[in-house]
């Protein structure tokens, strides 16, 4: 496998990074990077760390980072995570409570709870309850999705970063589990990765059952909520699984807020010709000064969710047969 860390890969322009990812030769990983500058979204690091988790350390070939931003890569814990030794001259002491969360592996429910508890002070959001609530909500839903549905031997790999310039937080989570199509196919006959992604983003659809209302433990709404939060706040949201890639595009500030149950009705881009990612990747941005009060956001979600369930129920009604 090969991953190239470009000079810039955020959710708006991540497509190039994904296109260049090479999943061939899954027993080895080669990591290269732009020699002058690296500025990437946490989801990029989560993906590389997830890939690294699937191979033995001795099978990882990582170029020696020389760009000015190498400290960022080290600080975010990528080399530690991969079991690689950073060159001693590149490591400086950093405030451990800087506004970032280094790469972390989450394997079970208790680890998820601990991560979510720790993340708010690490991102200095104690005094911003609306933003903290939004971020905690997203992290909880995404982590529990992996724990419950991904069958990911190496767990969920997550990290996050605060960006001062845009006053936003980027969060990325990657796993190398069964992927969305296989998970959804346990209950729905999605033929392609993109069909499976479309279903997974709709409220009330879960791979665990076809029954309306889900199972006692699963409603099939975690990804719909996450996408809806990004949509209401006019932020980016991406999801990548198999060869399918879906991106919720950022809407202009001040535009009317409308939520859709069907992700294809949102302003988006999609493609299912990407290199095959065995598992699932999700990236979200949360602009702190655009974050709406959470209860108001939930009111919008409630309306959309209710309408979707009613529409699906009506679609199952038997129709009268008329003859002339």
């Amino acid at each position: 496998m090969k991953a190239y860390i470009p000079n810039s890969a955020f959710l708006g322009n991540i497509n190039h990074f994904l296109r260049n990812f090479d999943p061939a030769s899954p027993g080895k990983l080669q990591i290269t990077a732009n020699e002058k500058w690296m500025a990437v979204h946490p989801v990029v690091l989560a993906m590389i760390a997830a890939l690294g988790s699937t191979v033995e350390t001795r099978q990882i070939e990582c170029m020696r980072f020389v760009s000015k931003s190498k400290n960022y890569i080290i600080r975010m814990g990528l080399l530690d995570f991969l079991g690689l030794d950073p060159a001693e001259d590149t490591v400086r002491e950093h405030d451990p409570a800087g506004r970032f969360i280094p790469l972390k592996r989450i394997r079970n429910s208790d680890e998820a709870t601990q991560f979510i508890t720790d993340m708010i002070p690490l991102l200095h959001l104690q005094d911003k309850p609306a933003q903290a609530q939004t971020l905690s909500y997203i992290a909880s839903e995404l982590l529990r999705n992996v724990i419950e549905h991904a069958q990911a031997e190496h767990g969920a790999i997550i990290c996050a970063q605060y960006y001062k310039k845009s006053n936003s937080i980027g969060i990325g989570i990657a796993d190398t589990g069964i992927g969305i199509k296989k998970a959804i196919n346990q209950s729905y006959p999605a033929l392609t990765d993109m069909e499976a992604i479309r279903l997974a983003l709709q409220p009330g659809i879960t791979g665990t059952t076809k029954r309306e209302g889900g199972t006692p433990e699963n409603a099939g709404a975690g990804l719909f909520f996450t996408k809806s939060i990004a949509s209401v706040n006019k932020d980016f949201f991406i999801i990548y699984s198999g060869k399918g890639f879906y991106k919720l595009l950022r809407k202009p500030t001040g535009s009317r807020t409308v939520l859709f149950a069907d992700p294809f009705q949102d302003k988006h881009s999609k493609d299912e010709t990407y290199p095959y990612w065995k598992g699932t990747v999700v990236g979200v941005d949360i602009a702190l000064d655009r974050t709406r009060e959470f209860s108001k956001l939930l009111e919008l979600i409630r309306e959309t969710y209710g309408k979707e369930i009613r529409d699906r129920r009506r679609a199952r009604y038997k129709k009268p047969r008329f003859t002339s």
Binding site: Q133, G213, P216, N218, A219, F225, S295, R302, G306, I309
Partner: protein
């Protein structure tokens, strides 16, 4: 009357679905089986998730229907928690039965 204190079990951000499942099995269902009134007390809980609320009450609504909606009261919920309870109560009723009694959310 049975009072279940969510904060004591799940903390100020009630998101651990395993805990929700345990509350449902160990306390909620036995109380519903005995036709007891139940107070789900959210005092001290700042936030929760739809997944937690779903794991807590959806199967009670599915299995006990009106009895669950009439016997369970949600106490000291902030606006966010109220909204999440309403979302779950709504879609469980939309998806299951023809009757649509309202779940009580007390202040």
């Amino acid at each position: 009357m049975r009072r279940i204190n969510i904060f004591e079990k799940a903390g100020s951000f009630a998101e651990n679905k395993d805990i929700a499942r345990d509350i449902r099995r160990a306390e909620l269902f036995p109380a519903l089986a005995q036709n007891q009134k139940i107070i789900l007390n959210f005092d001290g809980v700042d936030a929760t998730t739809q997944s937690f609320i779903h794991a807590l009450i959806s199967d009670a609504i599915r299995q006990y229907g009106d009895k669950a909606l009439e016997n369970i009261t949600y106490h000291r919920c902030n606006d966010t928690i109220k909204q999440l309870v309403r979302i779950v109560v709504d879609y469980m009723q939309e998806g299951i039965g023809e009757n649509s009694p309202k779940g009580g959310v007390a202040s």
